[in-house]
Amino acid sequence: MLITLRPKYSFKVPVEAECINPSLFAEKSTMEIAKLQVWEGNRKRTLSDLFKITRETPNPLEKVTIKIAGDVNKVRRIGSKMSTGEITVNGNAGMHLGEEMKGGIIKVTGNADSWTGSMMKDGTIEIMGDAGDYIGAPYRGSTQGMGGGIIIIHGNAGNEVGCYMKTGLIRIGGNVGQFVGVHMRNGTIQVKGNSEGRAGAQMLKGKIVISGCIPSILPSFTIDRITPTVKVDGEKVEGPFYRFIGDLAENGNGKLFVSKAKNPNLGVFEEYL
C-alpha cells in the first residue's frame, strides 16, 4: 500500500506530525488518515489540511509505504515510534525524524535536521543529503541514547553525533562537527570524512572510526597501537589507523580510530608506542 502526501503549501511555523507513521496508517481508510491530527504551531489541524493525500495500490495486506512528495523541513517527528513499513521523503525532512523508531525504513533524498533517529531502537534511516546536530541522541538529561538500528548519512552531520549512544551503527559519508560520540556507552560510529575535533569526548565504550582529518586528539585519550584495518559492522575499512583509548577522564575504554595518512600532525603520538 502506497500513500502519497503532498504538502499543500509551504509551511512557516513548526508542524508536528507524529501521525505520519506506517504502523498508524495501516488498517486505516483514506478518510481516517485524512482526519489524523497534526499541529501547525499552536493550531490543531488534520493531516488533510496540510497535505493532499492519495492512496495507490489499496491492498491492505501489503506493507505500508508513505511517500512524502515535497519539502517538509518544517515537519517534525515524521516516522516517530514507527515499527514497520517505509517512509520516503522526496525533499528535506524536519527535526526528530524517526525518533524512538522501533523498525522499518526511512529514506530522505534531501537533508534531515537535528535529532534524526533520536533514541531509536531499531530500523534504518538513510539520508542522502546532510543532517543536523544530535543524530541518534537521547532527550535532554537522559542517558538512554540510540539503542539499536542503523543511521546512514551520505552528506555531512553536525555536532554530537551519537551522543550517549548505547548500541547500533551510525555511518556518516561526509564530515562531522565536534563531539562525535560524546558520552558514548557502546555501538559504532563511522565517519568517512573529517571531524572537527573532540571525537569520543567522555565516551565509556564503543568504537569511532574517522577516515578523514581531525585537528587534534583530546588529552584524555592515550595511543594504543597502529592498526592496518578496522572492522565496521563486519566490513573491513582500510587504514592504517591510529588507535586511541579513552576517555580516561571518565575511566572509559572506548576505541577511537583515526586515519594515519590523513593526520600527519598526530605522528607525535608514535613515540609513545
Binding site: S114, D133, N159, G177
Partner: protein, 131 residues
C-alpha cells in the same frame, strides 16, 4: 592595506555595565561598546594610531569600531569588543543545537578604516534593520 586575522572575543566590561544602566541612548553607552580592544602591537601592525577607526569583518557581517589599546597586553591575535549592537553585527548565530550562539572566539578580519566613521546607535540600527 594591512589586514589581520584575529580571534574575536566579546564580553562585559565595567564601562559597558555602567553605560547600559545610564541608558542605551546615552553617549557613555555607545562609546563603551563601539570599541575594539587590541594588543598595542597588533594596532601597530595595522599601521594605525590608537583610537583610529577600524573595520572588523566576520562571516556574518562587518562593522566600524574604534581601536583602543588593551590595558592588559600582550594578547596578539586576540581582539575584544564589548557586548552590544556593534558586536552583534559580527556574531555567529549558529547554536549547534544548544540554543546558544557562538559569541566568543570567532575568526575575524580587521583592517584600518580611517576614512569611515563609527555609526551612532540610531544609524547602526537603521543600516541593520532598515527601520
Amino acid at each position: 592595506m594591512p589586514k589581520l586575522k584575529v580571534s574575536l572575543l566579546t564580553g562585559r566590561t565595567i564601562n559597558q555595565g555602567k553605560g547600559k544602566e545610564q541608558g542605551k541612548l546615552s553617549e557613555e553607552y555607545q562609546n563603551s561598546v563601539s570599541i575594539c580592544q587590541m594588543d598595542p602591537e597588533d594596532i601597530k601592525l595595522l599601521k594605525v594610531r590608537e583610537n583610529a577607526n577600524v573595520k572588523v569583518t566576520t562571516d556574518f557581517g562587518s562593522v566600524i569600531v574604534k581601536a583602543v589599546k588593551s590595558k592588559r597586553a600582550p594578547h596578539s591575535g586576540v581582539v575584544f569588543i564589548p557586548y552590544g549592537p556593534w558586536a552583534s553585527v559580527l556574531a555567529n548565530p549558529k547554536t549547534h543545537g544548544t540554543g546558544m550562539p557562538s559569541l566568543k572566539g570567532e575568526i575575524a578580519e580587521i583592517e584600518p578604516a580611517i576614512t569611515e566613521k563609527v555609526l551612532s546607535l540610531q544609524e547602526l540600527l537603521r543600516t541593520c534593520f532598515r527601520r
